[in-house]
Amino acid sequence: MKFKLIYPKWEKLEGQTIFYLPPHGPVVMAADIPDYVDIDFTDENVEELIIDETPDFVGISMMLTTQVQRGWAIADQYRKLGKKVIFGGISTMLHAEETMLHADSVFLGEVEGRLTDIFEDFRKNELKKVYNFMAKPPDMNLVGPANRDILKKDLYYHKGFRMVDLFHASRGCIYDCYPCAVRYLGGRGFRPRPIYRVVEELSQMDNNRLFIVDNSLALDTAWEKELFKAMIPLKKKWVSHTIEDKDEVLDLAAQAGAWYVYQAVFDTSDYIRNRIKQYHDYGIAVEGTILLGLDNQTEDDIKRLIDFLLEINLDLAEFTVLAPFPHTKAYSDLVKQNRIFDHNWDHYNAGKVVYHPKHMSAERLQELYHYAWDTFYKDEPQPMKMFNLISRVINREMEDGTYQPRRRDLIDVSFGKMV
């Protein structure tokens, strides 16, 4: 059986450095697909999608809200050709009802242990409209290595440099943060993978640089410490979200290869200043993630915050405006107050203002978003700061003998295109 698995493209943010990472959802899904299925994967961000009658069955995996309209358009075309289409992934769950209008089937939840039955239903022409596993997360022992063999790996190089591979060690989150939908997507509990399963997958990965995409590495101290201890011999270098602020945890994280972290910077407090310093003390770089347009921010607050970022020596900063994704408290609050004015999901890219901010106009917030990027990167542009980070990891790799030189055959190629 030929199964066409598609990761739809989306429009990247204007003026920012563009790079493409190998997607995570499709490789996790592929690991659960039965062996008799021949998977043909297309990441539309790095290669052209050719829609024809070749596949027997089509799957569309969507992570971002900005992918859904493109995903629906692809499905509509395949269904006109008489092909059955199933949707899955994070943004399928966020936009399930709308997606059902374009699908023969939608999969809601986590795939492990579920896809054999679904492919059997397809073979019997008994595909269900909805496979709902939202309240039935799988046993984490079942979450084995992702199937990265479906990726065309050469497409994820920029001038010979290989991009990080995505990896996850846990699911779910105990928090209910204002702009986040993980509570809906992964449940309100923290569900770590058993350490042996994490090591099994990491050991199989040929890429030395990773992005651990877990929502937080600050949810279970004992597990975190075990995880980092187990990772030390693997000599991977990795990026992650927040790591817990205990010294013994950060020390182990650094030994385990922590390269840089995404740390939310939400105010100008000493807590944040010390948090950044603490990471730096352990040799871990910091990319600040700064959300603009919250109801507690005035224009002056935003300007002060940007000045503060320059003071605390952040290695990188990523500015976004609040995007009220469905199934977040942000979305609920703004809907209640009738403040969302733009319902085009293509605009929910965290770079466009789609709601009325409390303390300024939408236009002014849009200007401040550009002001933030321009001001932070005025003296040292983003590519230069990224180069500094890459230099640091190369030095560490050279020290421990894990450095993989640039691919000379891809030196003139960026994400599959000649440059």
């Binding site: 709902n132 939202m134 309100r188 109801d295 408290k329 942000a330 209640k336």
Partner: protein
């Protein structure tokens, strides 16, 4: 965000309900039979103590389910949504009350519309 939301003047029991995609869900409720014959229901979001769908996201089906549970009629039913104070630095987690109005569509509420209320207004509404 770590705090336990305890019963108080606006919540004196739990209500378990099937949320979106049949996810087991829970909210706090207070049901007041007013002197004017109407039933006033306060549904409280209990955050981490709710394993499933938040009140706001499921407000119309939830209001329907509670009304059926207390065997009330739509014309005698007042529904208030309550989010308790989580003692967070962030204003999004302050205490809020919203009266929710709906359209009645042959057996279920649809089309929710929220109107912010002060605590004083809620207390007055509780008296009837």
């Amino acid at each position: 965000m770590e705090i336990n939301i305890a019963f108080d003047a606006y919540m004196d029991r739990y209500f378990d309900f099937p949320g979106q995609w049949d996810t087991p869900s829970r909210c706090g409720v207070k049901i007041i039979r007013r002197k004017d014959g109407k039933s006033l229901v306060i549904a409280t979001e209990i955050y981490r103590q709710n394993p499933g769908t938040p009140v706001t996201e499921w407000v119309a089906p939830l209001a329907t389910q509670i009304m059926q549970h207390i065997e009330e009629q739509p014309e005698n039913y007042i529904f208030i949504e309550h989010t308790p104070d989580l003692r967070s630095k962030l204003t999004f987690y302050d205490e809020t009350f919203d009266k929710v109005d709906f359209d009645w569509d042959g057996g279920k509420f649809i089309n929710p519309r929220w109107t912010r209320l002060s605590k004083v207004e809620v207390d007055k509404m509780m008296e009837g």
